[in-house]
């Protein structure tokens, strides 16, 4: 058990120490961005990696939560903490309704419908100017806890993000090993058998959807507090695609994969913005290259490499890639 926890503890500790060694707040903020992205990617991984449901509208969860907290704490007049809690609850409620639509399909249908659902909320954010500020978004979102915890300081905010990330890793790590987590992967591989064994496939998928929504909402809250600003761009197709890239590049279905993928994508995006303008094109090429070269992602690729190097067993174990759902 501890051998599994150790690498994550080391990674989190290293990230927490960035403020102590970094020369400028830039690196501290970059680390916060990685942590926030990782929380979102961990959430999406529940769907993509473990439920076999490929969502192309994941940004709707962080987007809803960020917009709700921004609106409630600026226009609505709530204090930041209550606004945050209400936003979390509101996002889960809307997500529950979305689940009724999205979970009627699987496969490519699910891809298209999740994208459409995200577009609905994007459309409201972009066009319903009187409430959402339209393309200008909502700014001046206050960070919570000013009296207790100096969250306006980058390093303190980073530590908050890392606490949430640690919580996400713990909760999801336990979930994936639990009876329900195993059953979730069962519905991914053999949904027909699962219902014949007495499992309620829809309800298991619903739990996965709500877990993904919950961690997505947590990431959205931190995002809104980090930037103190929200705009419709956080729900654009590219935003959902970026989270998907994190999961797939790192390794869908693994716990460390989304973390590594998030770090890679955030760093790549920041580096790219320094040297070249063409982030979207780079994103596109990264997708194509990953599909052609490394379809399972970094973490499974690494495991396979290690297995090949060790050559202790006559044959390397097949990678634990999520399988396509078998039914129609």
């Amino acid at each position: 058990m501890s051998a599994r926890v150790l690498p994550f503890a080391v990674a989190l500790a290293a990230m927490a120490m960035v403020p102590l060694v970094a020369s400028s707040p830039f690196y501290v903020n970059l680390t916060s961005q990685v942590a926030i992205a990782a929380i979102g990617a961990l959430g999406l991984n529940v769907l993509v990696g473990h439920a076999g449901l490929n969502s192309l509208g994941y940004a709707v969860f962080p987007g809803l939560a960020a917009y709700l907290v921004a609106w409630l704490s600026t226009v609505g007049g709530f204090d930041a903490v209550s606004a945050g809690l209400l936003a979390l609850g509101g996002t889960l409620a809307v997500s529950g309704v979305f689940a009724l639509v999205a979970l009627r399909t699987t496969g490519l249908g699910f891809v298209m419908i999740t994208m459409a659902l995200c577009q609905i909320v994007w459309g409201a954010a972009y066009r319903w100017t009187s409430v959402t500020g339209g393309d200008n978004g909502l700014s001046g979102v206050p960070r919570p806890g000013a009296s207790v915890l100096p969250l306006e300081r980058p390093e303190v905010f980073l530590w908050l993000c890392l606490c949430v990330l640690g919580l996400a890793l713990l909760q999801l790590g336990r979930f994936f090993d639990s009876p329900l987590g195993v059953a979730l992967r069962g519905t991914r591989d053999q949904p027909r058998r699962m219902s014949a064994l007495g499992y309620d496939v829809w309800r298991i998928r619903f739990v996965a959807w709500m877990l993904a929504a919950g961690w997505g909402a947590a990431a959205g809250l931190l995002y809104a507090w980090y930037h103190q600003f929200v705009s419709p761009h956080m729900m654009a197709v590219t935003a959902s695609a970026e989270v998907l890239l994190m999961v797939v590049a790192g390794g869908a279905g693994t716990l460390a994969g989304p973390l590594i993928g998030a770090a890679l994508v955030v760093l790549l995006k920041n580096l790219a913005s320094i040297w070249i303008e063409r982030w979207v094109m780079l994103l596109g090429f990264t997708f194509v290259v990953i599909v052609l070269v490394m379809p399972d992602g970094i973490v499974p690729g690494f495991h396979r490499l290690r297995a090949a190097l060790a050559r202790l067993k006559p044959s390397a174990a097949p990678a634990l890639v999520p399988r396509e759902r078998a039914d129609g």
């Binding site: 009627r104 249908g109 409201a124 066009r127 319903w128 194509v288 599909v291």
Partner: protein, 286 residues
């Protein structure tokens, strides 16, 4: 009354454009189980290519033909070199087509810049005609007619020709189609070319109405998906009904409730899905 007539004609024109976009998507989906998420980007590429040809001094019709052929060829190359390797797995396919969409969209931005541009309609179709009390741009009437002609042509192709019979057979059962000697490989590429060429053509035809701008792809792709979800994937009739339904809802929504038109657009999708997950005329999406 005038309002309703002219808005209905607008809705028919938008519906026609959406049909050109969505019918290709739907054909490709039905035949190959590929959701080509680059379809919106190819539509936009068609519009930009058409604009470039017009700017180079050739006529609108040449531009439409050139864009359709170029985009269709690009689609064929994409299918042959990249999509074919993926063997129908959902996630790689989504990533690949999305990646291509991003590359194409960003390349357009690089080549043609960020400012919206207007693609002028051909001179013989500029100006307006009077219908009762309403004055209506002649070009929009042309779009209504042209898209109806494309719909008829596609229907004849699929239902009345040998190639169409092969397509229908392969949609039902690829293995069986192979067994009776249909070259699925050639057929797939041909349909991919046809579907993407329609998107390119739609881009040029739509240019004078929608104008040509960098996020055109991101505006069009969700509409195409919406049409396909609503009408049912793989069904030409579904794409037809879905496209005109969306055309009407969007046009009237924008005039009557501009703030929420985009949200209202998705209500029929939710209504249809809750009754029939496979869409109005489709087979199951799973």
């Amino acid at each position: 009354m005038t309002f309703w007539v002219s808005q209905s004609l607008n809705a028919l024109a938008l519906g026609g454009l959406l049909f050109m976009l969505a019918s290709g998507f739907s054909l490709i989906f039905g035949l190959m189980r590929v959701a080509n998420l680059a379809h919106g980007a190819l539509f936009m590429l068609g519009a930009y290519l058409g604009l470039a040809v017009v700017k180079a001094g050739y006529g609108f019709w040449t531009a439409a033909l050139a864009a359709a052929v170029a985009v269709g060829l690009l689609g064929g190359v994409m299918e042959r070199t990249l999509l074919r390797r993926l063997g129908g797995r959902t996630l790689p396919q989504v990533l690949m087509t999305l990646g291509l969409a991003f590359i194409i969209a960003d390349a357009c931005l690089m080549m043609w810049g960020g400012d919206p541009m207007r693609l002028p309609p051909p001179p013989e179709l500029s100006g307006a005609v009077r219908i009762g009390d309403a004055v209506f741009p002649r070009y929009r009437l042309f779009v209504i007619g042209a898209s109806a002609a494309v719909a008829l042509g596609l229907w004849l192709l699929v239902e009345r020709t040998r190639a169409g019979a092969m397509i229908r057979a392969a949609v039902d059962d690829v293995g069986m189609a192979r067994a009776v000697g249909i070259s699925a490989s050639t057929l797939f590429t041909a349909v991919f070319c046809l579907g993407t060429a329609l998107a390119g053509l739609g881009g040029v035809i739509g240019g004078p109405i929608l104008s040509v701008y960098p996020s055109l792809d991101q505006d069009m792709l969700p509409l195409a998906l919406l049409v396909v979800i609503l009408g049912g994937a793989g069904s030409l009739l579904g794409a037809f009904v879905g496209a005109y339904a969306i055309g009407f809802i969007y046009t009237f929504g924008q005039v009557l409730v501009p703030d929420l038109a985009y949200v209202i657009l998705f209500l029929p999708m939710i209504a249809v899905l809750s009754v029939a997950p496979q869409g109005l005329f489709g087979r199951r999406l799973g």
